[in-house]
Symmetry: D2
Subunit: 309 residues, 4 copies
């Protein structure tokens, strides 16, 4: 497996977590390739820089995403297996990964920084909450460190590697690698080449750089995003404005927003006052919620988004 | 090719345009299949009807779309070739289509209703505008009808079909079908089986039932949508609320909206008054546009959406 | 639409049919990229040129095709619509195509060379047979030429282009382009950018450069193949040896072949004599066919392939 | 996570390894659906049972695989994570998997049968060889069992589960599940719904039921294959004959085979004698190999396949 020290002097590589990395090893196309592909549909016309920028922003804003497929990024990545298990779910990408059947897995395990050892979130069933402290933090850190080290020794023993615990098995082959690896925990590192087009990479970044994604894959996504920003600056900015940080307003929320605005305009009230009146008219908050067909959670989020609470 | 009269008594078929149809010939899964797949991730817990509904709406609202892939629809479709050319661009679907190399194309061409013979839109470069009238309408209708009929006769002549124009070629084979078909215009009908999962069908319907799509494919999309509505009523309603009729509010528009709302709340002004003040403060409309980094078109659309003009 | 004269001085473009072209406009990776991706699975070791060649041949021979996905080709193509209808069926590719809704279709139609005007094959239901001759040839050529020219005039009239037939419609818009195009036959040209990875391109070439494909798409495939040969010479040669010109020998054929060989070796007979004896032993050809579970067609093809008839 | 005892009375479920299972939970289409889709291309004609069988065999034999896409299988699967890591690489399928971020992983680990504890193969770099014996077997079995049990206790401790080792941490939340799972080895079980069409399932089975695949995924593939055999018997038999157990004969091997056959027929020699003469004529085995452009390995395999050694 490639180790960080082999690539750290290569400017296209960044360190990721304790043993991993993100390297951009090849690329096809940039902002100009997007424009070229789009113009085959939309016709020729003038092509000044400002118009190219406008065209790219138009495409992204209206989710006309096929021209984005003309740009490809090929990364060399090293990440823990549990991150890889999320990463591989993005099917519109090409992968060649290190094989634990063919090669010996290496002694590299992700041990989180103490500040990352966070308690289970009490709000988000799949998220992390406050950092652990004191004895609890110490136990967690020690457990992960100890398990990683001990399991690797067990792995070496199974494949009868001389560095493993001694079982006096002489020069025999040891257990097949494809079986011995079963004792390695999912914080063990793996390595891969990963190729994806810009449309699918934007889709990936929307989901995986999001605050609901596991923090480790957010970090991976953000390191890859830097390369997009460098090589496709106009598309990247459009992505941020119209896709990554856009919000989806449902038909229900749209109706409610428009009703509040109309009431504000028609009754000479502020936006907040109008909302309060709408609750009063409906009877109470729950009645308003039912009138619009919203769940309690939707109305809560609506109020937070539009600062009504 | 299957003709409408062969399937019109089958309740799962609907007529489409003048010679086409949409038939649902098989299906796997429904709302319950979506819930089943989602629960394997989210755990078990109680499963009352109302909770299933809430779960499906939650999934669609947050674009957790993989459980929607567990539902499949298989359609039998007949449509003009120019519609097929748009239809086939949806890659995540399976197709078996009538072959003009293997079989003789039939004398079925789409002749639009006179009310559909609309002028080129002066606003939308790829759309239709006002209906043609008088002599212009007559010419258009007659031209399309005549070309369809005459080209078909030419096609028959080329394949030396006895119904074609007589060229006294006796019983010879005639030009290969794969070549003779070259004279058929793209309003000629084709037929296919088309299978797609619900996630990708929703994506299709979002794009093709949209008012910017060509009217003929909108009609096709809406006929297929009826089957989704029948068999997955909860997912369909969630799709309408959170996906089909949702609007994407960009980071830029979100900032502007929040600023207007804040100004309304802080200065005791209505929503509209606040917007006018923001223009005044910036200098003029163009200055406001530049301050927020919007194109003129974006600000126009913003004002229309939030009734500010 | 881009015309041939605009690109003919560009060495990366080749002419295709009468108005079309194949241009390679971008590319990512080559033989070395395949090796790089494969080695991440198979480990490091020495990397001399001859070993790289052996590795690529090994990968292709055993259909370990994921490393081939690391190479991308982006083509600029112009082809008749009926060829595009076959081309687009390859779903694992990216397309941006000229839009007949947005832009005016041009007066470019594929008129085959007289030698290509072949009769329907009497053997192959979807193929072409002997070239037409005399009056039949003349009629076919004239029909295709006339229909193309006349339909284009009808198209111009519909969109109220001054070059169309005069209908005295003044300066009105004319029928919407998205509708007017319906009178254009499928030998009209379209233009596109097309991006595909090498694995999927090999799959395309296997099917479309095959003698059973329509001749026009074979020509397109072969022009693209030239670029693969230039940029990935080792992978190309491996493709030819192990994939494009390999034959698939079924379990049934394999058994029969082995039985003939065993009989030859055991009874001191030639290969052909052994086959004849096997027919005699079975009773007749049909009995042999049934004994091995072959269709008549399979046994016919078997005899042709192994020169037994 | 669903445990085997919950589903063992359901006839559509089979046990897989020690804690896993394969259940067929839904299906769309069968042999008739393949025929229906194919006939839309090939025309109507008579449809007796024998002809349907012939059509399906024809399709599979010529790799006209699109009609196979019309059949869908949906499985409920439970397998170790290291098998899942191979399984997920098949991208043309839909997955909903148990989430270790959302739910607690269960105390189920794959402990291979002693007979499966095989040494590293000395021939196949990614395979298993002879079974371990004696002390070595005991060590391997004990190590895998011990690591599985101890790591699970560490996992419980990390999430502060009362069944874990006591750390006197009271009723606090414990480490987030998304982090705690990092100590679980890849023989821990996961569960998923998996939906795939028949074309892609055949592709999967070709690769994963193959003797070069890891034995654990071969077993998974074979259990799924039983369901295909039951529901699509004609397609299954065609798959076995023409796809799964077919051999790919390269252009090189084809040439050599034909030359041996011609020499046998022309010189009144047996098949084996002819091969020996060809070696003599070339000089030696290596010269023959070079004459045909084969690697040593290819000629070795050729001789084994056609019983020439």
């Amino acid at each position: 497996m490639t180790v960080w020290s082999e690539v750290e002097n290569d400017a296209s590589y960044s360190k990721y977590l304790d043993h991993g990395f993100v390297g951009l090893v090849d690329r096809m196309g940039d902002d100009a390739a997007i424009v070229q592909a789009a113009r085959v549909s939309y016709g020729k016309g003038t092509k000044s820089v400002s118009e190219d920028r406008g065209l790219i922003r138009y495409l992204v804003r209206h989710f006309h995403t096929t021209p984005l497929e003309m740009v490809e990024f090929k990364f060399h990545l090293k990440m823990p297996i549990f991150v890889m298990r999320q990463h591989v779910r993005h099917r519109m990408a090409s992968i060649n990964e290190y094989s634990g059947r063919y090669s010996v897995m290496t002694d590299e395990f992700y041990i989180p920084e103490p500040s990352r050892l966070q308690a289970q979130s009490s709000i988000n069933k799949q998220g992390s909450g406050a950092p652990l402290e004191g004895q609890e933090l110490e136990m967690a850190f020690n457990t992960i460190s100890r398990v990683s080290a001990e399991n690797y020794l067990d792995y070496l023993s199974l494949i009868n590697d001389p560095s493993g615990r001694s079982y006096n098995l002489g020069d025999r082959e040891g257990l097949a690698r494809e079986l011995a690896r079963m004792v390695l925990p999912v914080n063990n590192y793996t390595e891969l080449y990963w190729k994806i087009d810009l449309k699918n990479l934007f889709h990936y970044l929307k989901l995986r750089a999001d605050s609901h994604a596991q923090q480790e894959i957010q970090m991976l996504a953000n390191l890859m995003a830097q390369h997009v920003k460098t090589h496709c600056p106009v598309a990247w900015e459009a992505f941020e404005d119209y896709w990554q940080h856009s919000i989806s307003v449902s038909r229900i929320e749209h109706n409610l927003l428009q009703d509040i605005i109309a009431l504000s305009n028609n009754t000479n009230a502020t936006f907040s006052e109008s909302y309060v009146r709408m609750i009063d008219t409906a009877g109470d908050r729950k009645a308003l919620q039912q009138k619009y067909g919203m769940s309690k959670r939707e109305l809560d989020e609506f109020e937070t988004l539009w600062r009504l609470n």
